[in-house]
Symmetry: C2
Subunit: 887 residues, 2 copies
């Protein structure tokens, strides 16, 4: 009948490529059925019927009804059971299933087909009256709620009353008689509220349920879900009618869950749990302990073999480790579900690599198989999962920097520093951190803050250092003076010196010492990374301010430094004193004198970095933050500093007041400092070029000659003139020093693109001599979208919830808006200089979506914190593979 | 000799169109000479010679030298005098003159030709030995400094010594003998320092001077001047050699300045001053009082008639009022200079209008003739120029809002309000103002702040209200507690109640009461405005928050409201209390209750505005500032408010702390408030539509029916989703109210474009329903260029000085950078909706360059503060005329 449109498909008639009309679930059930796997039989009403339903005033046409009934008839024949039968009734489930997964958003009816007669049939057949009546109770409750629109609470009320009367704690404490009484009351309630009887005709039940599923396609939460997830172009949901099977029909029945490989370790060994004479919920309820699936081999070797064969077949078919649910009903094995199994990072990497070795998948597929962000788990120390079972979770913040940390609580940076010197492990707990805390942050094993988001100072610095950090943990209240932290909701008080444990990957905080385990960069990990490097097109650099960070990054595969923040070097030890002298200086000469004290430190810093980078490029950003960040904020510290600097408190306070800014983000910082105080960048230029000359000639660290490649980066450029004025000064200094040395060192001068205006005049900035652009996407997002990183947390959650931004734009690059600025800048910049070097050094540099964006838009490199380098390598490879597959 | 290049032109050989080679001054002198006006004869060495001079290792070729000498010879013959002659010597001036005016940047030599012999000749011929020797002294000093590069101070030192020895106070107290002695010492000093004699050969003097002028083309200040003023493409300076004439050669000589019309009033009456037997500097020295030029008619009717005829001729020739300098030497009239005369705004308008009536210029020319910003003078009360002569200037700030104000000093907004209620005139003096001060600002005649720039709160609000304001007056120190202000540098203390006077057009502050004069919107002003309206293509709207502002703007010709800032309505009287209740509310219901109290106020506000606008559009912007702006900052006020609101001080402080933002500019404000608290815009929507319905039906103010046109503007939109979410809510409320009323009111919903991201997704914002864009260029500049209005003052001066920005980008729109964002937004927006309405409502809306930018880029309207409406009308007309002239 090629000219008659088909609206209903038996599972055997479909396959996995028919998602658009069968929905995801329907297509999957069809695929397994056609593979010959024993799936409980059923059929799918297509999404087109849903579309027609809405077009036809919420009616299913008679023709389609007829087609449905024909399929029902076939199903009854196949199952040798009939809906509503008083002896051995067929029960079916009615489930939604759109082409895109919308978990839990639409409605489902289970146990359909039960009525006052067939409940007895089920009771007889199963030999379990309680089970039959409980199933009936559930049907009426679900049907009453979803189809008849009687408030769910009405049924719960009756149920609770019954339990109270009986003194029952769990539903399972209710007897058959209790359940019969409840069923009666349920039916009365429906009559009372809706004026109708609960329909006894199973076919009526069926069509009403199908309508209800169609209606749920357009309920509020489903519409919102599609909006938020950008699901477009679907015509409706399919409806799956599937016969129900039961694992609790006696000792020849059972139910279980299995994995084709071990989801924790990735070992290629069948793995799972099961229970005989049980339903899935029995496993969940924890009343009985499930058995390892290996026991099934002893208990029922035939079924076991059948299961193993099916698993093998399904894994080979889908070419991925499968998570499967099965039920044994009267010694017959049914597969209820098969899907790609969730796995740990370790398992993910191992499975991907081994499947390539087994010839099951290609390297390209292996690369696409591992979620880059998951690698984080592999690179950091972890809390031991076993130890975690009994750990007391006391608070939950943002997972700001992954890893685990266990240590004594301290409340100040100096205390962290001191205790660390004594060899103790400490957790630094602060309301929020500031640049003054840098020493203490370096000394701590972990950092916990009460305020600030994923891109707060604490989070950014901690990620940069690879230190575990939980940020914005609003549950905790810190009293720095009293040196205690309290968690009101739990009535817990923690003193300085008490132990806590942090999980930076989940944001959870635990009381006391929780055991940890070290990262294991296994051979499989290395293999996957090597494959990634074969495919990726863009370089991966790192953001590193110290030789230690740089060395870590190199270990993780970084190919240069994309961002060295020189200001971080200004906070350490004695340096801050010279910085403050510089700030308090009244004139150029005094400023130069103070800066001269910083020069040897800066030079030493750069020598260390250049040595580590050897022949890789090192991009050094000149001083960026506003000067007030180097001065204390609190009265006590101001008085201390005034004494130390030998100035009056008033003078110091005036200076601080003078430097105060209403919007420091848009203030006197970056290259603006050098326009007004050119001496600062002059000193940094001298330090860079003297260091470069030293390591090129005779490295003070190793005595070798390095092919050093310094790249000087000017921050916060907004206009061409800023760039040309500063570039001229730099070139003069560098060239004079090089001439003096007699060496030839290839250096580049470029700029951050982080002010929107710079993106708009990017062509002119290149004309005035910029040799590279590095996108500072943090600031570009702040200015471009008008969002302050420090403040936006207050409303960004709501923004993401309402789908205004799909993600926090500080975590995931806003490709539509900020991405457009980047595209404009690249187009303009390369219109002048086609080989203009382009990179990214914002926090987004290690975020997989941003890495893909950079790949697509012709970036030369991305730069990210050392611990994100492997993630970026994999993400870059995935971007390249996706492009290959498109071709 | 058409094949021989000509490098030197007699004045008679050139004309005004030869600026490129003769320079501005040379071309002007030539033009007058060829007109037959008696200019002291001379010749011009072209700019090409300067170019060749630099190309030829700073040498003038022999051929050109010869050409110069030939012209010198002709000049001597014409003047019947010879350079260096011992009896009646010719004296010449040697002056620079490039194609673009560079006043004072290059060098000049006067009295050239004097030497030991000719000084006697000049003495004999003039009968004034002192004059001759003083001229010689001046030549040596000027020549020594400019040509021979002997430090100017060396000569001053000798002169001061001579005066000290003689007990002379002024140079004029020195006798001939004194001057002879000084000349001797000058020559000895030159010999001592440079080892050469002062050249006695006048031709040597001449060529050395010409070289010196060429050299000054590339001195530091000239190069910087060209950079800063964007003067490009010039090849060098011309050199003008002109015979000198003297007005002090006896009673048949004299000198004067005249205007072809009165530069103060514009009256078409010859006007000027002169002195017989005098030089220009005698007038400046103030030793003798000059006579009105009408006296010359009596004293020397022939010369007078000649002068009047010349003036008439020159004015007709240049078609503009001329400012001319003349000298009578031995009864012969010479015109030394004629240029367009500076004039007051009143005179400018009158002259332009009358010249059209006289048939001298066209309306188009008249429109171009008046500088739009000058109109400011006409629209405000002014300090009386006569009274100003004796006024004591005590401080100098920024001319933040034009006009004049005289009143008693008060230091708090509440005091301003109280004293104003008593009928007193007050000047509100604050370190800086905040929104809480709004009542006081309304009550004051003038506002003086110690901090803040041209776009600070005080400045913006004052301009909006048309109140005189001097801002950022850093000379003053305010002690609010003691109620005094001090001006340290002048040792002046002013108490509350003391009188001061402000000039908001100059930024000057005067002690005591200075007389004022009222604005006079003369008939000529009206005529010019009418002509402007004939030509301009874009509408002019106003930024107005109150019916009074709206009425003022209508009087000045506004065609609608482009921006009504509703938050200003929230600060007044009782309203702030309800606003604060709303902010402190813990839940939606409490918030709604507080907002309900504001509704009647808002509705009343809008009724007043709609009534004033009649059938003009009224664009109302929803609440924009962050909520913390409505809460007090100082401890004292917090305690007060807590009592008033009946909450604990701690609760209030927590709320304030909670609302605190690190970068409020990028914070929780604008439409972001409505995403999290939709009740706020709901209330405003109800107020707008209820008000519109009221005035459309039966205006509560006048009882008429107005064709009301509300335009609802959503601020701070950055994403399409923000817009569509809020638009949907607004439309629902408005349409329900309209349906209820049975009226049809055409309303529009649009958005500010003030976040860079919005400009980049402008097409999508239009797709989601925006009916108009209004560019908020203040915020667009802040975010686009990463500059905080509140902070950037600290370095923007330096930025403008270094030419990084040509102007303060908050005063003059940055067309290159921010303009590019605007162009992108317009292009994208109109690609979706070709008739998308486009306006501007930032502070730039009334700035003439921005108005021209808007005209060129297809804006429908600009909106500015009421007092800038006439300026914008004229600027818009000028833009249209310029475009016409190009075609």
């Amino acid at each position: 009948m090629p000219d008659v449109k088909k609206y209903v498909y038996s599972f055997e008639e479909g396959n996995k490529d028919m998602k658009q009309i069968l929905g995801g679930k329907g297509a999957n059930l069809a695929e397994m059925s056609t593979l010959g796997i024993n799936v409980p039989p059923g059929f799918t009403i297509t999404t087109e019927v849903c579309d027609l339903y809405y077009k036809n005033e919420k009616q299913i046409t008679e023709e389609i009804k007829k087609e449905i009934l024909e399929h029902l008839d076939k199903l009854q024949k196949k199952m040798e059971k009939t809906l509503g039968d008083a002896n051995d009734p067929l029960l079916v489930s009615v489930r939604s299933g759109a082409a895109s997964s919308m978990p839990g958003m639409m409605d489902t009816i289970l146990n359909l087909g039960l009525n006052d007669k067939s409940v007895e049939g089920l009771s007889n057949k199963s030999g379990n009256a309680r089970f039959a009546w409980d199933s009936y109770r559930r049907l009426i409750q679900m049907f009453g709620d979803v189809v008849l629109e009687v408030e769910h609470a009405e049924f719960e009320h009756i149920l609770e009353n019954a339990k109270d009367t009986k003194g029952a704690k769990y539903d399972t404490d209710l007897t058959t008689e209790d359940l019969q009484e409840i069923v009666k009351k349920y039916k009365e309630k429906i009559k009372e509220i809706k004026g109708i009887e609960f329909p006894q005709d199973p076919v009526e039940q069926l069509f009403l349920s199908i309508n209800a599923v169609f209606n749920s396609w357009n309920n509020y939460r489903a519409i919102r879900y599609r909006e938020i997830n950008g699901i477009k172009g679907l015509i409706g949901t399919a409806v799956n009618i599937q016969s129900m099977v039961f694992g609790n029909l006696g000792e020849d029945s059972g139910t279980g869950v299995c994995f084709t490989r071990n989801p924790s370790t990735g070992e290629a060994k069948f793995y799972g749990e099961y229970l005989m004479n049980a339903q899935g919920e029995d496993v969940v309820a924890g009343i009985r302990t499930p058995m390892p699936v290996s026991e099934l081999e002893k208990q029922n070797p035939e079924i076991y073999k059948e299961l193993v064969d099916i698993c093998d077949k399904v894994e080979k078919h889908y070419k991925d480790m499968q998570d499967m649910e099965f039920t044994i009903q009267n010694n017959k094995l049914y597969i209820l579900q098969a899907r790609s199994g969730k796995r740990t990072a370790t398992a993910g990497v191992r499975i991907a690599v081994e499947m390539v070795n087994e010839g099951l998948i290609t390297k390209e597929e292996a690369i696409l198989r591992v979620e880059p962000n998951q690698l984080n788990q592999l690179l950091h120390k972890q809390l031991n999962p076993v130890a975690l079972v009994n750990a007391e979770e006391i608070a939950h913040g943002l997972p700001a920097s992954p890893g685990a940390a266990v240590g004594e609580v301290v409340f100040t940076a100096s205390e962290a520093f001191n205790k660390n010197q004594e060899g103790l492990n400490v957790i630094l707990v602060r309301t929020e951190t500031s640049p003054e805390d840098i020493d203490g942050m370096h000394s701590a094993k972990g950092i916990l803050t009460a305020r600030g988001g994923m891109t707060s100072h604490a989070a950014v610095v901690a990620r940069g250092m690879g230190t575990c950090c939980v940020a914005g943990c609003s549950d905790i209240l810190i009293d720095e003076k009293a040196k205690i932290l309290t968690i009101k909701s739990k009535n817990i008080t923690i003193k300085e010196g008490d132990f806590i444990s942090l999980d930076g990957s989940t944001g959870k905080v635990y009381l006391g010492k929780v055991g940890t385990q070290d990262p294991e960069l296994s051979g499989n990990f290395g293999t996957l990374m090597d494959w990634a490097d074969e495919f990726r097109k863009i370089s991966i650099r790192t953001n590193a301010d110290t030789p230690i960070d740089a060395a870590t990054a190199i270990k993780f595969g970084a190919q240069g430094i994309g961002l060295c923040r020189t200001e971080h070097m200004f906070f350490e030890g004695d340096r801050i004193k010279a910085v403050r002298e510089m700030i308090l200086a009244d004139n150029v000469e005094a400023r130069k004198t103070a800066l001269a004290k910083l020069l040897p430190y800066q030079k030493e810093d750069f020598i260390g970095l250049f040595h580590e980078m050897d022949s890789y490029s090192t991009t050094i950003r000149f001083l960026d933050p506003p000067l007030h960040e180097f001065l204390p904020k609190e009265e006590k510290n101001i008085i201390e500093l005034a004494q130390e600097m030998n100035v009056s408190v008033e003078t110091l306070r005036e200076k601080i007041e003078d430097l105060h800014e209403v919007n420091p983000m848009l203030g006197h910082r970056g290259c603006r400092l050098a326009i007004t105080f050119p001496e600062i960048y002059d000193m940094q230029t001298v330090a860079i070029i003297e260091a470069a000359i030293a390591v090129a000639d005779n490295c003070p660290v190793c005595g070798k000659k390095h092919d050093v490649k310094p790249e000087i980066m000017i921050p916060l450029i907004a206009t061409t003139k800023e760039f040309s004025i500063l570039k001229d000064r730099i070139v003069k200094i560098v060239d004079a020093k090089l001439k003096q040395s007699g060496l030839e060192i290839k250096y580049k001068i470029g700029t951050m693109i982080e002010v929107p205006r710079a993106a708009l005049v990017a062509d002119k900035i290149v004309e005035s001599g910029a040799e590279f652009f590095s996108f500072g996407t943090n600031d570009l997002t702040q200015m471009g979208a008008g969002l302050s990183r420090d403040d936006a947390g207050k409303f960004l959650k709501e923004y993401v919830a309402q789908g205004i931004y799909e993600n926090d734009p500080f975590e995931v690059l806003d490709q539509e808006g900020i991405g457009e600025l980047i595209r404009i800048a690249i187009e303009k910049g390369r219109s002048v200089k086609s080989d203009l070097k382009i990179g990214i050094c914002g926090e987004h540099g290690g975020e997989p979506n941003a890495v893909e964006f950079c790949h697509r838009n012709g970036f030369d490199y991305v730069s990210c914190s050392p611990f994100r380098v492997p993630i970026a390598r994999l993400a870059a490879a995935q971007a390249a593979v996706k492009e290959l597959l498109k071709k």
